[in-house]
Symmetry: D3
Subunit: 158 residues, 6 copies
């Protein structure tokens, strides 16, 4: 299992030693979406425009969640996050909400897990607030779309 | 926004009052999957059979994550979870790992968020351990497949 | 120090034994306010009406904070909170925001610390979002205004 | 809402990007007080001198609380705190306890929220230990009294 | 591995289903000690008598730690703890501090892990405060000395 | 109490100011063991070889626990951990499991508390999984065996 950096020669998991890696500026973006019934998305859109703010609450939950990444993922390193931004964009034609999170740090390892966690927790929070109205929702297509600043250089994906 | 129970008449979010709901036995199951390159799944399968245990670590992370649900999702109620089990099943023909979590409680509100969170954190943990080998992974199709024990009765989905 | 229930005869702190107390429905309300420059309150009011939602974010932070009470206050008992609601009301004549939190549980001890913590964290969150614009803010007059459901009966204060 | 750094042009909250700010030595001090009945303060003073140590416990809770700031306040950055000290001073003529916390870091953003949180949690902990004896306590006058080390220079207040 | 309740027939770890177990009053006591140089214990004893309170701080840390048990131990159930008390007793002839913690709950599973965690965290906290003065300390003999209230009845040990 | 760095001249505990200490590469190793009945160790060894992985789960819990050190120990500084590795070695002749944890950081203070906490939580997790089969287990001989990288130089112990 030489290709999996989290395992040693005996196949035992450890937190990878990053102590000799350079401290560099790092950024990662992740995306995902939550798909719902058209009528459910209408509820969200009415709320955003007028009163209850489903998307605003999900944004805050996602930012807070990004800060908990090292507590949630056993082998993640704790990192001094320097920025988190999250966009939640309604996509009426797909009756979905597209979620994109960007995280920055200046550190010895990347922040793609923080970006993925931010999208994840934002999506779960949307689910929680809408679940009384819709039992069919799905969270889907969570992936990393940008990673830059480490040894492996810039990686972009759709 | 009368249909969204987390918002009051002014559209302000609150944690729903469940103090008068009956204490009943409740169960929920959620599912999701993480799709990867065929070669990446091969790495996982070799490890599970022999040494490093990606799936075992993800199972533990998911169980621990389920206990953090009320800390992650702003409007979730804290609940005395009485059981969490998680299955991670490799699906070679789809080069994916299917994740299913079941959570039980005896309480005043349901545990579907706990089940979804367990699947989510297990999937993120798989992602973290394999990300050095595969930049193309996607976490997808997270949804609730069973909910029982509350006022709305038994709900099953695929 | 016979009057302080958290200390034993040797003056040592402990978490009070509530195991023989009745499980009853309990409620508590706490209040407090954050006072700022008139121009700062104007920024908040513009934001609430139009775009950025300082008060909505503080409400979410306060609800989440209430769930952390037993983790923050060393001798507090963990409690299954069944409701949290928080109101943040701008008081233009005092250039202040009044914060009121109500918490419910069905348990063996009261929730006044949870209500106070909710107000506190909501106030700190308001402070954080406005501190770049105003160095003069004060959080003040945090107190319990209602407590009911325990052995000591209903207690109301202004 | 151009003056509120936590909101972007669309009024959406984000964690401010501090990745290009200088890493400097930073310090902040915050103060506040908890006012009680004269007889309650007498209980505290007897305890401190002899047996139970209300103030010592509150000091520890405040230090621990300072380390949780980024978990409590949604848009706060996690920071490597290098010092926390807390003084709790009984003020018999006001039947109050004055609390002052000083926090240091070497980082890209200030620590005034950490200092305020330390005072806050220390005050809540005093409240918790004395609440059986006194239903009239108030936590009041929480504010930042010193901030130094960032771009805005030294700011002092009473 | 039929005897290990945390593993299913496939050897996979899960959180044991306690949902059908009776809710009963449960208690557990755990003990342990930290052994140090005689001169180090003298420092502690002077402090307790006069000023700095190593034992008082360790007691608070242990109580707080007991509440984190389900977050620290992956397969532990969250439990509504109803009491924690911790005694730290200097044993001059052994230049050691003996630590005993008792935890109660009314729930569906026992609290021996909570009692052990309380002793553990109290001991680590003593270690932390004394480590500048003594590099030879050892934490030792952590074990459960009393467990009662569940199906297996009362179990006592030295 | 001049020798105890966590206490000031008045004997009050504080988090030591490390802001002027050099940022250096630091490492610490801690060890401990859990002693059990011979039959219990047999259960573990069967599991490791074949199915359930007690030692693998304990390793993950210990790594996660190391990251919580500053949250568990009141006066510990938060540190950007750069490596955690944990070995659990069955010692059949002593019917014990020996646990060794190594932690690294690049920071202003040492990581011996993180290493001790990792061993501790790993040991508690082993205890939790085996407690249904064995009421006689003891966690013992927790100590620091290596510390290097700070002002006091390299310290090794058995």
């Amino acid at each position: 299992m030489a290709d999996l950096t989290h395992f040693n020669a005996q196949g035992q998991a450890h937190m990878v030693d990053v102590s000799t890696k350079a401290v560099t500026a790092r950024i990662a973006t992740a995306r995902g979406r939550i798909v719902m019934l058209p009528a459910t998305l209408d509820l969200v859109l009415q709320g955003t425009a007028q009163k209850g703010d489903v998307l605003g609450i999900a944004r805050i939950a996602g930012i807070t969640g990004a800060k908990k990444t090292a507590d949630l993922i056993p082998l993640c390193h704790p990192l001094p996050i320097t920025k988190v931004s999250i966009d939640l964009t309604p996509i009426p034609e797909d009756h979905a909400i597209e979620i994109e999170a960007t995280v920055k740090t200046t550190g010895q390892t990347g922040v793609e897990m923080e970006a993925l966690t931010a999208v994840n927790i934002a999506a779960l929070t949307v689910y929680d607030m809408l679940k009384a109205a819709d039992k069919t929702m799905r969270i889907t297509d969570l992936r990393v779309t940008l990673k830059d600043g480490g040894k492996s250089g810039r990686i972009e994906a759709e």
